[in-house]
Amino acid sequence: MNSSQLDTISVKTSDNVTLGYSVAGLGSRLVAQILDNLLAVPITLVAILLFSAVVGIFVTGADGAGYAAVGAGFFAFFVYFGYFFVAEAVTGGRTPGKSAMGLRVIRIDGSAADFAAIAVRNVIRIVDVLVVLIGIVVMFFQPQTRRLGDLGAGTIVVRDRAAVSLAAAVAPPPILLRTPDSGPPIDGLDRIGGFERDALRVFLSRPGLSPKLRADLAADIAKRLLDRLGLPPGAPERLWPPELFIERIYLQLDQRHP
């Protein structure tokens, strides 16, 4: 989690731990918006029909019918924008569309979006949508994909889904060994601690290294290991190639502390 990355924001908590939030991109936000519209537009249409039916009871003349039609237009405005307001207020910043895309509105300080913040971003939504969709333009140029309503409310839309499951994070990555043979015992392995062992595991589980690079890295690591073990430099070349040397050390460590 690097705070200089554009697609994450860093929030320092009261425990003085920095949390990285992954910022939702333009694409996922637009898809969430489309999904919400699949709900908001039918709701608005039904509301117009209900409005016309109820108001029609009070209409007595041609003028009244005209007023009722104008009123239905206003009503559509309130129901459409009201959908997003109510949906965000009720779900704590996860409208059905956002929820489906694994998105959530939070405040820029990492706390939950409260009623006032949701009110601001949803009243300003009127400008974001009705002024030539300026919200999308702003989101395009804003590094954290915030629209005007987000800027006004101090909110940001982040990914709310677990990126890695505990099981996947805990499972050790496969170790890429050339041979399962741990070879003859090596002296001085007690001097190699947990950190070195983790480093070896990271090296051995790293896929996609070119053979040349892997050999170079292995030579460098082997030199440091020899230093730690108190063996003279150049020893592994005499014993085995550095890569094999590292593998055998790792296997022997693994046998000691499985």
Binding site: V17, G20, A89, G92, A112, I126, V127
Partner: protein, 330 residues
């Protein structure tokens, strides 16, 4: 501690925190017992300290990414502003709204000034160029006045009232939202509303219908124009925060002002329901003109005594720190 030992020792609490996040409904912990919430806090603090350790010792391990996501998801569940409650509406209107109105007085004055500029400009336009009167003022108004049709009630008043209420609330919301565009749309709404009122008022004055005209405007107009001025003021607050952020960054200054201003804007916008009802049922009614003017004066008196006087008495125990008597050492 090696990565394996670290994970083996602590993964139990991570799983527990994950389960607690899943148990939170609608992004809230509200449905949980006090004990569960306390446990949630403990688990989050423990896990975030695990995150700090993991980031120091194993920055590239997948578990670090996992712990970050876990804490990031749990954090907003625990850290949040005041919850919205139905019971908070009463105190909000009784004290919070008038207080935030008074605190924002320079913007209210500025907003009123913009509307007044529009009014004066409109008045002068009609006064200096009577030949333009026809294009500035809808002629139907004069026809109706000449025929004495105004003041005999409007057909379908409930339907008309609903239109008026909805339109005005929409305008009030646009006044606030326009603040985000430096308040330019807000200023435009204020100027144009003043202009319309100014042109019509001048035309009516020149035509000699003034008393009848004011009886048509005043009953609802006092409330309606006040609300437009106040919501215009909230929009100007946003524009000002962007243009003159002071010691803060622009975004931060804007967000701080906006979350206060939005409640004021929404609160006063709700008054437009009263204004629209008056506009549909009282203003065009056949009530005698003095009664209509008295309704307007009464509404105005109520509105401004509420905005200027409510919530002035500080609540006991809420004194500022510097009001407290100095402690005497024993």
């Amino acid at each position: 501690m090696s990565l394996d030992a670290f994970i083996a020792e602590r993964q139990g609490r991570w799983g527990a925190l994950e389960a607690a996040i899943k148990a939170a409904k609608r992004g809230r912990l509200r449905n949980q017992s006090a004990n569960d919430i306390e446990r949630f806090g403990l688990l989050l603090r423990q896990t975030s300290s695990d995150l700090a350790i993991a980031r120091r010792d194993h920055p590239d391990a997948p578990i670090t990414e996992y712990l970050n996501t876990l804490c990031a998801r749990a954090h907003p569940l625990l850290y949040r502003g005041n919850a919205w409650r139905l019971g908070a509406i009463g105190p909000f209107f009784a004290t919070a709204l008038p207080r935030s109105f008074r605190a924002a007085w320079p913007f209210m004055v500025a907003s009123l000034a913009l509307m007044a500029i529009g009014f004066i400009a409109g008045w002068l336009a009609v006064d200096l160029r009577p030949d333009l009167r026809v294009s500035l003022v809808p002629p139907s108004l004069f026809d109706e006045m000449a025929r004495g049709q105004i003041g005999t009630g409007v057909q379908d008043a409930p339907v008309v009232g609903l239109d008026i209420i909805q339109n005005n609330i929409r305008v009030a919301l646009i006044c606030f939202a326009g603040g985000i565009l430096l308040g330019i749309p807000t200023a435009f709404v204020l100027l144009s509303n003043g202009w319309m009122l100014g042109t019509v008022a001048a035309a009516v004055q020149l035509g000699g219908y003034d008393y009848q005209f004011w009886s048509l405007i005043v009953p609802h107009g006092v409330l309606e124009l006040s609300v437009i001025v106040i919501s215009g003021g909230t929009g100007l607050m946003l524009g000002n925060a962007i243009l003159r952020p002071g010691q803060l960054r622009r975004g931060e200054a804007l967000a701080r002002v906006a979350v206060r201003a939005v409640l004021l804007a929404l609160g006063v916008a709700s008054l437009l329901i009263i204004a629209g009802t008056l506009e549909a049922f009282v203003s065009p009614s056949s009530l005698p003109d003095p009664v209509k003017l008295a309704v307007g004066a009464g509404v105005g008196l109520l509105l401004y005594s509420w905005l200027l006087l409510a919530g002035r008495t500080p609540q006991p125990g809420r004194a500022f720190a510097f009001d407290r008597p100095a402690e005497t050492p024993a």
